[in-house]
C-alpha cells in the first residue's frame, strides 16, 4: 500500500519562495525591531499556532510577509495521532496558510493529542509499521486540505519504545516516499537523539533521500545530568548551535546541497543580532560545503 506522491498537486514557484539561504525563527520580541529596521535576513519562519487569532500579531506577520519570504512551522497537528487529526485544528492551520501564503509549511514526526487531550509537547512515536501507516494517512490528509506538500521534521527524543522495529530515518524516509511530503532535517535533533540513543548521526543523514530534504533546522541544546551521572541531551533551543552540530550540518550540506536553513531559538531568546550572527555562520558553511550538488526535485516542495 502507498499513498501516491502524485496525489499532491504541484504548485508554482514565485515570490515568497524560501531561498536556499539562512533564515531566522521570528519570535514576538523581535517583531518591532524587524518591522522598524528591516534587517538583512534571507527569510523568516514563524510558529503557525502563534498566528491563529487576529489583532496585533497577525498584523505584524502580514507586514513581515510583505518584505520577506515566510515559512510556517506548526507544532499542534499531531501527525502521529492514532485517532486521526483534529479537524478544527487543521482548519485553523489552513486559514493561516491561506492568509500568509508561505513558502514552506512544516510539522513534526511526533504526536501530541489523544482522546481530545492536547499534551503540549512533541511526543515520540513507536517506530512501527502501524505508526507509519497512521502518520502517512494523516500527512496525506493535511496535504489534501492545504493543497500543497508539507515538510515533516525529525524529532529529538530521550526515549525509545521496546516494540519499535524501524530505524527512525527509515520511518521518516518512508513517510516522504509514500506521501510525497518533504523532510525538514533538524540537524540538532539528529545530534541530540544520536547522543541519547547511541545512534550514528552520519548514518541517519545518509538514510534520508537527498532530494526529499526541503529545509534544515539548527538550534542549541542543553545537557541534563541525571542521578548516577548519566546524561540526557535536551533540545531546548536556548543557546548557540553547538560545535558538534555545526560539524554535522557541514556533513548534511555535503550530502544534500544548499538547503534553506533556519536558526531556531525559543528559550531566553537573545538579541536579533545574535541570531543574525548564527545565520551568518550557517551561510558561511553553506558556501563552503553546499555547492557540490543541485537538487531540482526540491523545487516541487516550495510554493
Amino acid at each position: 500500500m502507498s499513498a501516491s506522491a502524485s496525489a499532491v498537486p504541484p504548485h508554482p514557484a514565485g515570490k515568497g519562495q524560501i531561498p536556499a539561504q539562512a533564515g531566522i525563527g521570528l519570535r514576538f520580541r523581535h517583531h518591532r525591531e524587524v518591522l522598524d529596521s528591516r534587517p538583512a535576513v534571507a527569510w523568516f519562519e514563524v510558529h503557525t499556532e502563534n498566528y491563529m487569532g487576529g489583532g496585533a500579531p497577525l498584523g505584524c506577520l502580514d507586514a513581515v510577509r510583505g518584505d520577506y519570504p515566510v515559512s510556517l512551522h506548526g507544532t499542534g497537528l499531531s501527525l502521529g495521532s492514532a485517532q486521526g487529526l483534529d479537524d478544527a485544528h487543521l482548519e485553523r492551520v489552513a486559514r493561516v496558510v491561506e492568509r500568509v501564503q508561505p513558502g514552506l509549511v512544516s510539522e513534526h514526526l511526533s504526536w501530541s493529542t489523544v482522546d481530545g487531550h492536547y499534551l503540549a509537547d512533541l511526543l515520540p512515536l513507536p517506530m512501527t509499521e502501524e505508526a507509519l501507516e497512521v502518520v502517512c494517512a494523516n500527512v496525506a490528509r493535511v496535504q489534501d486540505r492545504l493543497k500543497r506538500a508539507i515538510l515533516v521534521e525529525n524529532p529529538s527524543s530521550c526515549l525509545r519504545y521496546r516494540h519499535s522495529t524501524l530505524p527512525e530515518w527509515t520511518f521518516l524516509a518512508e513517510t516522504a516516499r509514500r506521501t510525497g511530503c518533504g523532510v525538514l532535517c533538524d540537524v540538532n535533533n539528529i545530534y541530540v537523539s544520536a547522543c541519547n540513543h547511541d545512534w550514528d548521526a552520519s548514518g541517519y543523514l545518509a538514510g534520508l533521500a537527498p532530494q526529499s530534504v526541503g529545509e534544515i533546522h539548527l538550534a542549541g541544546h542543553s545537557v541534563r545530568t541525571l542521578e548516577g551521572g548519566r546524561e540526557l541531551r535536551i533540545d531546548d533551543h536556548g543557546s548557540r548551535v553547538a560545535p558538534a552540530v555545526w560539524a554535522l550540518y557541514a556533513e548534511a550540506l555535503a550530502l544534500f546541497g544548499p538547503v534553506p536553513t533556519l536558526i531556531e531559538w525559543d528559550t531566553d531568546v537573545p538579541a536579533l543580532v545574535v541570531l543574525m550572527e548564527q545565520a551568518g555562520h550557517a551561510a558561511g558553511l553553506m558556501n563552503e560545503h553546499g555547492n557540490e550538488h543541485g537538487h531540482a526535485g526540491r523545487d516541487a516542495l516550495a510554493a
Binding site: 492514532a82 492536547y118 511526543l123 516494540h163
Partner: protein, 256 residues
Amino acid sequence: MPVATPSLLELQRAVARELISPGESPAAEFVHTDGIAACDRLNVYRNTYVSTLVSALRIAYPVVHRLVGAAFFEGAAQLFGQAHPPRCAYLNAYGALLGDFLSAFEPAASLPYLPDVARLEWAVNCALHAPDMPGLDAARLPALAVADPARLRLVPHPSVTLLHCRVPADAIWRAVVNEDDAALAAVNPDSGPAWLLVERAASDVQVLRLPEPAWRFAAQLCAGAALQHALEEGCVGADAWLADHLAAGRFVDFVA
C-alpha cells in the same frame, strides 16, 4: 518480564495518563531503559508538558500572576492543569476556566476578588486574540433601521465580552497593569459590582464600565436576543446605546 505490544492508541493513552497523572499508567513498561529509568525519561516529557501549560496560563493571566506571586501561581496552575488538561493545540484558547477554578480553590480564599480578576483577564485575553472582523457596514444601517424589532438579532464582534463582576475587578486589573501600587492600595474591594464591556478597539483592548441598565441591554443583544426583547429589558436611552455600539463596531452582522 515479557511486555505485551501495545497498539498505537493504547500506547498514546498510557503516555497521556502518565503525563497528566504520573505513576498510574503502564507507559514505563513500553520504554527502553538503556541505563536510565523509564520514569526518568518520561519525566522529561511530563516536565515540558507541565511547564508549557503553566507558561500558557502565565501569558494569559499576567495580573493574577502578579497578584499571587510566581510560586503560588505555578502551584495553582499545575493543579488547574490536572483538573482541566487542554482540549486543543491552540494554547491561546487554553485556561478559560481558571476564574471558576480559583473561586473553589481553598488557598486563594483570602483573596475573594481573585476569581473576578481572573474572569476579566480571560475576557481581555479573548479580546487580544479574537479574529479580525470589520464592524457592520454603514451601507446596511438603513436596512437595520427598518427591520422588525421583534425579529432583529445582532451578531456581536468576536472580541466583545460582557462581564458582571461582584467586585471592582477593573480597578484592580488596571492598577496592576499600570504597576500603580498607590491605585491598587486605594481600591476598595467592597465598593460594589462592576458591569464591564471588554473589546479590542483598533489594536488595543479596552475595559469599559457601563451603567447596569446599559450593560443588561448590551448583554441581551450579545446573547442573541431580539432587539425588542432587549429593549423591554433595557430602558430609555437604548437607541443611543445601540448607536454607540454600532459606531464602535461592536456588531458585525444582523438577521431580521
